[in-house]
């Protein structure tokens, strides 16, 4: 990658004003690295399905190695050495967090050793989320179709559906690759996230920042944004969604946030019983599914 080479040339050519310019360049370089990472992610997904097949993490490592991105390579090495060998790419369309966590959760449900109990538990949590939507003023007309489909999808883990045998990971993948299917899950998770924030205003109101302007937003403005498709999720949304569904998520944040090893964040701090956590891989502006 010619990134560092270019910067050195510019520095030499403008030696007299070196000091202040160097600071500017540092910023520029950071945002360039960020943009470059975004472009790499977008290029890899341009024509791909919404969720891709399982790929070894070593593939991602080689992509960053080819780009001379040592920070990411070191962090990926840490993941591989700690047993996270694979990942699934998720399309970077602004819904990657919701699509990734939805898919990863259903995978956990399918893999659960006591599927019947897990499904019953999940159905009762789902019912509670519908009450939450109702209480926060979402019209039934609006959420009932999404709810019904979520319910049918959860049941499908243990009983055949419309002539199709019990849901497998391959069946789940097919379902999620159809936008009509996975967008139902994305929308339902978005509605629940927004309603959970509305119902727990005191916990969240000081942390509702606009992702681009970084300005504090009002609860209704923030929640309207959460409910729209294609709007990237932030940490507040992850916490709200996990609390509403009693999900455990562990997110590996790549990008040099941590001096040693990697920044691996557990949400919530104390895990909910009954379900293994799902793992997500975060690179600036994007989520993928991480697999152990």
């Amino acid at each position: 990658m010619s990134q560092s080479g270019n910067t050195a040339d510019v520095n030499q050519a403008t030696a007299p004003e070196e000091h202040s310019l160097k600071d500017d360049l540092k910023d520029l370089q950071f945002s360039e690295v960020y943009d470059l990472n975004q472009r790499t992610i977008e290029d890899t997904y341009a024509d791909g399905p919404l969720i891709q097949d399982v790929a070894p993490l070593s593939l991602l490592r080689s992509e960053y190695e080819a780009n001379d991105n040592h920070v990411f390579v070191k962090e990926i090495d840490w993941l591989i050495n700690n047993g996270y060998h694979d990942f699934r790419r998720v399309k970077g369309d602004g819904d990657c967090f919701y699509r990734a966590i939805g898919f990863a959760f259903f995978t956990r449900l399918i893999q659960n050793p006591d599927k019947d109990l897990a499904v019953v538990t999940t159905l009762s949590t789902l019912m509670a989320t519908a009450n939450l939507l109702e209480e926060t003023g979402i019209e039934k007309l609006v959420y009932e179709d999404f709810y019904t489909e979520m319910e049918a999808l959860i049941r499908w883990v243990v009983v055949p559906r419309e002539g199709k045998s019990i849901l497998t990971i391959d069946g789940l993948l097919e379902y999620f690759r159809d936008p009509e299917g996975s967008n139902v899950v994305v929308v339902y998770l978005r509605l629940v996230t927004a309603s959970y924030i509305k119902a727990h205003v005191e916990d969240f109101e000081n942390f509702l920042f606009h992702p681009e302007t970084r300005e504090l937003m009002s609860v209704p403005d923030y929640c309207n944004r959460v409910m729209g498709l294609g709007k990237e999720a932030d940490h507040v949304e992850i916490m709200a969604l996990c609390d509403a569904f009693r999900w455990n998520v562990e997110v590996a944040y790549l990008g040099g946030h941590s001096k040693d090893a990697i920044n691996f964040v557990k949400i919530p701090d104390a895990p909910y019983p009954g379900f293994d956590p799902v793992f997500l891989l975060y690179r600036p502006g994007h989520y993928d599914i991480l697999l152990k």
Partner: protein, 220 residues
Amino acid sequence: MDARLRRVNKEIADCKNDRTSNIRIELVDNSPFHLKGSFPGPEETPYEGGNFDVDIVIPPSYPFQPVKMKFITKVYHPNVSSASGAICLDILKDAWSPVLTLKSTMISLQSLLCSPEPNDPQDAEVAKHYMTSKTSFEDTARYWTEIYAGGPGSRAAKVASPGARDEVAIAGLDPQHVTRFENLGFPRNKVIDALRRLNYRGGNVSKITEDRVVEELLKP
């Protein structure tokens, strides 16, 4: 199973059953995906007394993507194209979310008529008129409501054919200004066009020289 059809049918029924909102929805060509909505102009606005029809198209990916709406009835408003009826409203674009419905979107259109956003215009000429003289803008908007939306008023009742409509009032201009430049030998419709483009209204009149107007009039 067609999720879109199920949702739209419920929404149409919801509008029919709601007697408080005054939003009406009817099918066009028997298709639930092409509709005509209408609502009364909001009270205490220049649109009061008019009835506004809206063309509604439900896209294949509804409700994930926004419904398409544009005014059928001509509306004089900074956020509505006076030529095409296209609407500039955030929820019809990137602020759409699947919790919005035909009814709530139509109510938002009604609110848009109450509170124009001239800084984010759909029709730049109308927005300039609004910024230059709100009184003159409201007179014009009221006249449009009379002649296009069946609003109250004596003038519209007397109008026998569209040709007899007051083109000067439609353009939101002062008849004296139009006559003045007509007297210089320019055709009336050209004068109206030029003065409208120049926003020759209110405090702007003193800022625009006669030469500037003549220059505009001489443009091919």
